[in-house]
């Protein structure tokens, strides 16, 4: 029974990892950069939840859309500050601007909301279901549902909509996309807005489970990168499956082996993966053009 409970807790954790990773891939699949500020965007989402739900006292059905709309705007600002002015620079320089933007967001949050962890309620309160000895909170089921919807939505978006295909085209060859009439700037802005909305949703969902605090983004963001590598960078289903797997493995290993090194398991798995199966579970589609 304890095993089953641990697996369920692990899946809940894993769904969160997957959710953050999906936001990461949204940007990666549109502009081929890894956004090292994705975790901090999630943190902002959590705090916007705090402001709308707790501080402004808005009802949930209003607070959620308001937060997500604000996140879309923040996503575009993120892109205008940290990506657009430096586009076309070598990747080893670009990577630093998203990190710097993460630092900016984290310290702005520290100034605005303070350093203390704060509770944000779930739309489902603390409702729980009991099956035998196993407890599942309604909120966790909500997290699963949102992750599933986002996975399907993102897949549909990239493969079935013109706008999504335009993003993929932009990722593969920006100049060529521009030549065939893609409005590259808007497409990229859209990708960042969507990624920020994903991150915001993640923040709204994570905050009721772990409290909102300015430093929460760093470790969650890191796990999202790990999950993306294990899943095969760029692959949506890979990220979700790797996320769930990692959540379960981490929780079980912490429960049965040692909780001291809880955070190390993810990195050990990732490095092992890089050694034996560098392209990840679901491979990587892109190769260098000659």
């Amino acid at each position: 029974m304890q095993l089953l409970q641990l697996v369920i807790n692990g899946l809940a954790m894993g769904a969160i990892y997957a959710l953050v990773a999906l936001g990461l891939l949204q940007i990666f699949n549109a502009v081929r950069i890894v956004n090292f500020g994705q975790g901090q965007l999630l943190m902002v989402g959590a705090f916007l939840g705090l402001s709308t739900i707790v501080q402004a006292g808005l009802p949930m059905w209003l607070a959620y859309p308001v937060t997500l709309a604000a996140m879309a705007v923040i996503g575009v600002v993120f892109m205008l500050v940290a990506y657009y002015p430096v586009r076309g620079k070598p990747y080893y320089v670009l990577i630093l601007t998203t990190i710097a933007m993460g630092i900016v967001l984290e310290n702005l949050a520290l100034i605005i909301w303070g350093p203390l962890p704060q509770a944000v309620p779930s739309p489902f309160g603390s409702a729980q279901w009991q099956f035998g000895g196993v407890t599942v909170s309604l909120h966790v089921l909500f997290v699963f549902a949102v992750t599933a919807v986002m996975l399907l939505g993102q897949w549909w978006f990239f493969n079935r909509t013109t706008y999504g295909r335009m993003m993929q085209a932009t990722a593969q060859d920006m100049e060529m996309a521009r030549l065939v009439g893609v409005r590259v700037r808007y497409t990229i802005a859209g990708a960042f807005a969507l990624a920020a909305v994903f991150a915001g949703a993640g923040g709204l969902l994570v905050a009721p489970m772990f409290l909102a605090e300015p430093s929460m983004g760093g470790s969650l963001g890191l796990k999202a990168y790990v999950v993306s590598v294990i899943g095969g960078f760029g692959s949506l289903q890979g990220a979700v499956i790797a996320g769930l797997l990692l959540g379960v493995v981490e929780t079980l290993a912490a429960g049965y082996i040692s909780s001291t090194y809880r955070d190390a398991y993810a990195f050990i798995i990732m490095i092992t993966m890089l050694f034996v199966m560098p392209r990840g579970l679901f491979g990587e589609k892109i190769s260098e053009r000659v």
Binding site: V34, V81, A82, P85, V86, K89, P90, Y91, Y92, V93, I95, L96, T97, I99, A100, M101, G102, I103, V104, E106, N107, L108, L110, I111, L222, Y225, V226, V229, F233, T260, Y261, D263, A264, A266, F267, I268, M270, I271, L274, F275, P278, E288, V290
Partner: protein, 621 residues
């Protein structure tokens, strides 16, 4: 841009190289005196301590410059390497080892870690090293905190003895300052020096364009591994200096966040030259102290400042003076000289002699059998058989999308086909990496030009000599007499190649200042410098005007006259018909026909598929 009538104008404001080097020498001397004398006035103060930490940090960042600045690879574990060096030294010295024994062991330990980490990931795309180093760094941090019996946990290790030099124990901030200064200066000197060795040029070349570095014969994985190891060794030595300087060590300061801080120092200061590391380290060490009054806003502005510097100063802070100077000078793009000079090159004169010989039938040198390359459902090459005879110019022509460039990519190891065999004399080439194929005697240019913009014209060609080098990395790094001799030989051979293609007068210019047609010639010179038995030319005449392509024709004949076999992929029929001894025609991945010029001209299938179109196009031109 190409063919534009812009004439060379060397701006009068630019200082001549001699003047520049004199200025640099003066500045260097002034700096050296300041560095030696100034600390005397600081005494045993807080500032001097800060300076000492800055010197240690400088060693870490100058080390990082090898893998990140020179090679363009992302290393987010530099602080972890630093930590491993610090803890290894601490543990060994607490066991009674002397610094002079513990420090090399610590450097070896970090170097070893980097090899284990780098070998599997450096083969992959750049992003994977970033991830692997983050993972490694997080694991190291956890181990430092939790492996209490050895590391002392969060409280760390205390009572680490100091350094003694020839029996004298170092005492006081000032003595430590000179000790640390010596190390930093030595580390910096090596890092500056390596820039003008084959090792350093290979690093910059692979940073600029990895595939072109491979094709010039550089084993890019090996060079990257060496660079990562050098980075780690620097960090390891810095760690040893750190623990003996302050006498204790704890897990703080070795986190991923700290690695990112070092990374930021380097990028902000400027990559590509070790001086950037100095500027970046000084700036980001002093800045938090100077901007203390900003308090909680400091990190917000810091983040925005980093982005601003990256956006505005591509070369980092170190490029700021040059940028200001350029702004005040007229902004005409640096010199696009006409290529008319090529006419006078020996290539042109050598050509007339060889042009007379009509058909050649040498020994078979390159044999392609049954090569099939698929991309998903698309068949790019379908059971292609082509034999190339030594000393001939063998053209491969065909309409767009016929698989010509794909064919070259298979020959040079960029693609590995599903079936077939490619033999250079008796050696099978399939499955080898591009640099190995280059070493065996196959070289190429690229249809979309790939020169190394950060190197000079001469250095570009010198990279091509990599595969003729018999000097090992350590010799090259330390600058032994043998390596200096070889350096001279490489330079001579590279100059010869430049003379041959007619670019010799541009040898010392930055490669990115060359005009379009000149870049093509530079690529050919680089390929020739690898001394290939077979030279593959991928649309060398693309974008050239009639005169330029006529000169190219002479050049190709001259290369053949040297005994080099040429495989020519080209659309320009005038060029193909002018120089080819034999022609293969590809269409939709299949070989449609093969034969002499006349046979191809009269082949009805070819005329229908291809030549018919081109003849009209050609008559228009």
């Amino acid at each position: 841009m190409n063919g534009s009538p812009v004439v060379a104008t060397v701006s009068p404001r630019e200082r001549s190289p001699v003047q520049q080097s004199r200025w640099r020498l003066f500045a260097l001397a002034l700096g050296a005196i300041a560095v030696v004398v100034l600390p005397h006035f600081l005494g045993d103060s807080y500032v001097l301590q800060l300076v000492n930490f800055g010197l240690i940090g400088l060693i870490v960042v100058v080390g990082l410059n090898y893998i990140t600045g020179y090679c363009g690879q992302i290393n987010f574990a530099q602080a972890a390497f630093y930590g491993i060096g610090a803890y290894t030294t601490a543990v060994l010295m607490l066991k009674g080892l002397s610094f002079w024994l513990a420090m090399p062991l610590a450097a070896m330990a970090t170097g070893l870690c980097s090899v284990v980490l780098g070998v599997p990931t450096l083969r992959l795309r750049a992003f994977y090293l970033a991830m692997a180093t983050i993972g490694f760094s997080e694991i190291v941090q956890l181990v430092l905190i939790h492996w209490e019996p050895v590391t002392g946990g969060t409280s760390g290790l205390r009572g680490i003895p100091g350094v003694s030099l020839f029996g004298f124990a170092l005492q006081g901030q000032l003595q430590h300052y000179y000790f640390l200064l010596a190390w930093a200066a030595f580390g910096l000197w090596l890092a500056v020096r390596v820039r003008s060795t084959q090792l350093g040029r290979s690093m910059l070349a692979l940073r600029d364009t990895e595939i072109a570095a491979e094709v010039a014969g550089v084993n890019t994985t090996r060079i990257k591994s060496i660079a990562l190891a050098l980075s780690a060794i620097y960090a390891g030595i810095a760690g040893a200096l750190y623990v003996t300087y302050i006498g204790y060590v704890s897990p703080d300061g070795f986190s991923t966040g700290q690695s990112i801080q070092y990374y930021t120092m380097l990028i902000i200061g400027g990559t590509g030259s070790a001086v950037g590391a100095v500027v970046g380290t000084i700036t980001l060490t002093a800045l938090p102290e100077l901007l203390r009054f900003l308090r909680e806003w400091y990190l917000v502005l810091y983040g925005l400042g980093v982005i601003a510097i990256i956006a505005v100063l591509p070369g980092g802070l170190v490029g700021l003076p040059r940028r200001l100077r350029r702004r005040s000078a007229p902004t005409t793009a640096p010199a696009h000289v006409s290529t008319a000079t090529v006419e006078a090159s020996p290539a042109a004169s050598a050509s007339s002699a060889s042009a007379a010989e009509a058909t050649r039938t040498g020994e078979m040198i390159l044999s392609i059998k049954g090569v099939t390359q698929r991309f998903g459902g698309l068949i790019a090459l379908d059971d292609v058989n082509i034999d190339v005879r030594e000393g001939t110019v063998h053209a491969v022509i065909g309409p767009n999308g016929a698989g010509k460039t794909c064919f070259l990519n298979v020959l040079t190891g960029a693609y590995i086909p599903q079936a077939g065999s490619v033999k250079l004399l008796d050696r099978e080439l399939l499955g080898l990496r591009p640099f190995q194929i280059t070493h065996l005697g196959l070289s190429r240019n690229f249809q979309n030009i790939r020169i190394y913009p950060s190197l000079s014209v001469l250095e570009n060609v010198m990279v091509g000599q990599a595969c003729r080098s018999s000097i090992n990395t350590l010799q090259s790094f330390l600058g032994t007499p043998a390596s200096r001799r070889e350096e001279r030989a490489i330079k001579l051979a590279a100059r010869e190649a430049l003379v041959f293609v007619g670019l010799s007068e541009h040898a010392d210019r930055p490669a990115e200042s060359l005009a379009y047609a000149q870049r093509r010639l530079l690529e050919i010179a680089r390929a020739i410098a690898t001394q290939p038995r077979v030279l593959l030319l991928d649309e060398p005449a693309a974008g050239m005007n009639v005169q330029e392509s006529t000169e190219l024709m002479a050049l190709i004949r001259a290369i053949r006259a040297r005994g080099t076999t040429i495989v020519l992929v080209e659309h320009n029929m005038r060029l193909v018909m002018g120089v080819s001894d034999r022609i293969s025609v590809l269409d939709f991945g299949k070989k449609l026909a093969e034969g002499s010029k006349d046979e191809i001209r009269q082949n009805p299938a070819v005329i229908e598929a291809y030549l018919g179109q081109t003849v009209t196009k050609d008559s228009r031109a």
